[in-house]
Symmetry: C2
Subunit: 356 residues, 2 copies
């Protein structure tokens, strides 16, 4: 047990529960406790809270400070929110207790995109307390940024980058569907954009700034647009029925400019049952440079599963990094964590985790 990594999960929603279940399957990790925001979760057995059919003998708590004092974890995975602002208080408590952090909050994928000042504060706080902090997730954090960055590594020059992630919202529940405007009339969709109830994808600014920083580009501006995807045939899920003429999803695009020229164009059409109108899901990356690259993944990397896996799989990289704030492009590439230890992967052969 001496070499086992003690992990606390902050958040017991769909993502937090998936992360906790995966931690239980990893011999190198020990699920030390869980904190929830919802008062109703307080005192519930963690096994039941995360959808297992057995109790774990650990109670979910809503008191993060007390949990950390009791369990003294090596690392915490935060899965409670999307924005930097909303993540802020928990991040400060975790770092203040000397706990390393992986956050799946979208804005944590590249916090400087939203607030360079807050990012610098997090970085300094992490250094002060000797811990490492990483934002991880499938998108932002992997498909439309890290994977693109890695691919440019084989390029002598890059003129422009275009990438599209086409997914299917049919497996998702009412919250996600309504954030993408699914089922609305085109007019209600426009209204939703105005009043903020229709959101589209959260993460384009983070992805674009992460790519630009990795490549050494200064961006002039970022332009985003959100357009309704109008159904031409009836599309249906357990939670919504979309008649022809209504909104089946949201086509969200973001374009980054440099020297007056569009250099990075990201597109993420999210809708229910795209296949019903002949649209295949997938992740498509096209780099116009020397050489040109053309990479396709079909179907798309599934978002929920991938975010859960990335959050867990990045624990070795975060534990082995020097104190500070990191994005996915700053640390060694993620890898499925399939062994029974935390290994370093040096070319000289693998070995057990070393003290920092």
């Amino acid at each position: 047990m001496g070499d086992t990594i003690r992990v606390v999960v902050v958040g017991t929603g769909q993502m937090g529960s998936g992360i906790a279940r995966l931690i239980l399957k990893k011999p190198a990790l020990q699920l030390a406790g869980a904190c929830a925001r919802r008062p109703g979760r307080d005192g519930v057995d963690l096994g039941l809270a995360i959808g297992l059919e057995r109790e774990l003998g650990i109670s979910v708590t809503t008191e993060l400070d007390a949990l950390l004092e009791q369990t003294r974890p090596d690392i915490a995975i935060q899965a409670t929110c999307s924005t930097l602002e909303d993540a802020w208080r928990e991040l400060n408590i975790l770092i203040g207790h000397g706990v390393n952090v992986i956050s799946i909050a979208e804005e944590m994928a590249y916090p400087a995109a939203k607030s360079p000042i807050k990012a610098e504060q997090l970085h300094q706080l992490a250094i002060k307390h000797g811990v490492s902090v990483l934002g991880a997730g499938v998108n932002p954090g992997f498909v439309l940024d890290l994977l693109i960055i890695l691919l440019t590594g084989v390029c002598a020059e890059v003129e422009s980058i275009k990438a599209t992630r086409v997914n299917d919202l049919a497996p998702y529940g009412p919250t996600v569907l309504s954030e993408q405007g699914v089922g609305l009339t085109p007019e209600a969709f426009e209204q939703g954009l105005s009043n903020g109830s229709v959101v589209g994808h959260v993460g384009f600014e983070q992805s674009l700034q992460m790519i630009a920083a990795a490549l050494g580009w200064e961006l002039e501006r970022i332009e985003q647009s959100r357009e309704p995807i109008i159904a031409e045939v009836r599309r249906e899920t357990p939670f919504v029925t979309v008649e022809p003429g209504r909104v089946a999803g949201c086509l969200h695009t973001a374009v980054a400019y440099r020297d007056g020229r569009a250099v990075i164009s990201l597109s993420h059409p999210q809708q229910i049952h795209p296949e019903m109108e002949g649209v295949e899901t997938g992740d498509l990356i096209r780099i116009n440079g020397a050489p040109d690259l053309n990479i396709e993944g079909r179907p798309e990397i599934p978002g929920g599963q991938a975010t859960v896996a990335l959050a867990v799989n990045m624990t070795p990289q975060v534990l082995q990094a020097a104190p500070g704030l990191y994005c996915m492009a700053d640390l060694p590439a993620p890898a499925a964590m399939l062994g029974d230890g935390i290994f370093r992967r040096f070319g000289r052969g693998k070995r057990k985790r070393e003290a920092r």
Copy 2:
């Protein structure tokens, strides 16, 4: 100039020349000198040696020690050979002079695959002299290892991995063609395998061990096979004509076993003009796990260009790493180096290189 990275190139063949030409295009890098093995290159102007139409006012030398004492570079890129044994003497001189190293020698992609003892010696020597050493290249080093490793990062479980790199040897010269047996009769191909003149791909053991180490898998054994690709139609390049029935290339495969089961299967058919018999070039990765992944790049990432770019693009990562020996999976992902500085890419925003 104060923040410019001084780079020496060791080797002025096709790869070394390409690397030197790319360094000249990067404002953050300064080409400080070059060393060649061939005596005929001694004293030749570096510009002419690397195929430019202008002189650079720097003479190529064959004396590596003297070059390093004169130029005191930050980093050297080694492009002289394929094997660890052949790279050994230059590596020791470079590290001994306190110079960071990127080597494109195939066996340096994961030196522990060939010799864990030599890898450990390099690691200790690098630490002793305070420098970082990396093996980089397209394959091994990127397509059939790093890219696969990165993709498994979104997986909770991995059952097996299959990847194929289909390329076209038509652009290559006589040396490469003869190493793959192009133009031989099937009998002469078999003979070439026996006497070592037909080699196939150099790098499978390195790729397989790099993947296994990153995932935490212990491999039982690796099985390799090399089969002739027999032409059914006449195929022709400036250097070779292959009549039907003769060898158009070599299908080299390598399979890694674990618990009696094939877990990683890599395949690299190399031939001239595969399109003449309906074979499309490309890089194909299929991961059987949770989730399944299916990624294709078409055409394949071009080997020569990609190796040159990777060697140059990894300079920031190597300079910013703690002293030691690294493989591509140990350092932050490569990225095209397009800015005029060496940036750190922290989520808090980019900044100039900091002292180690």
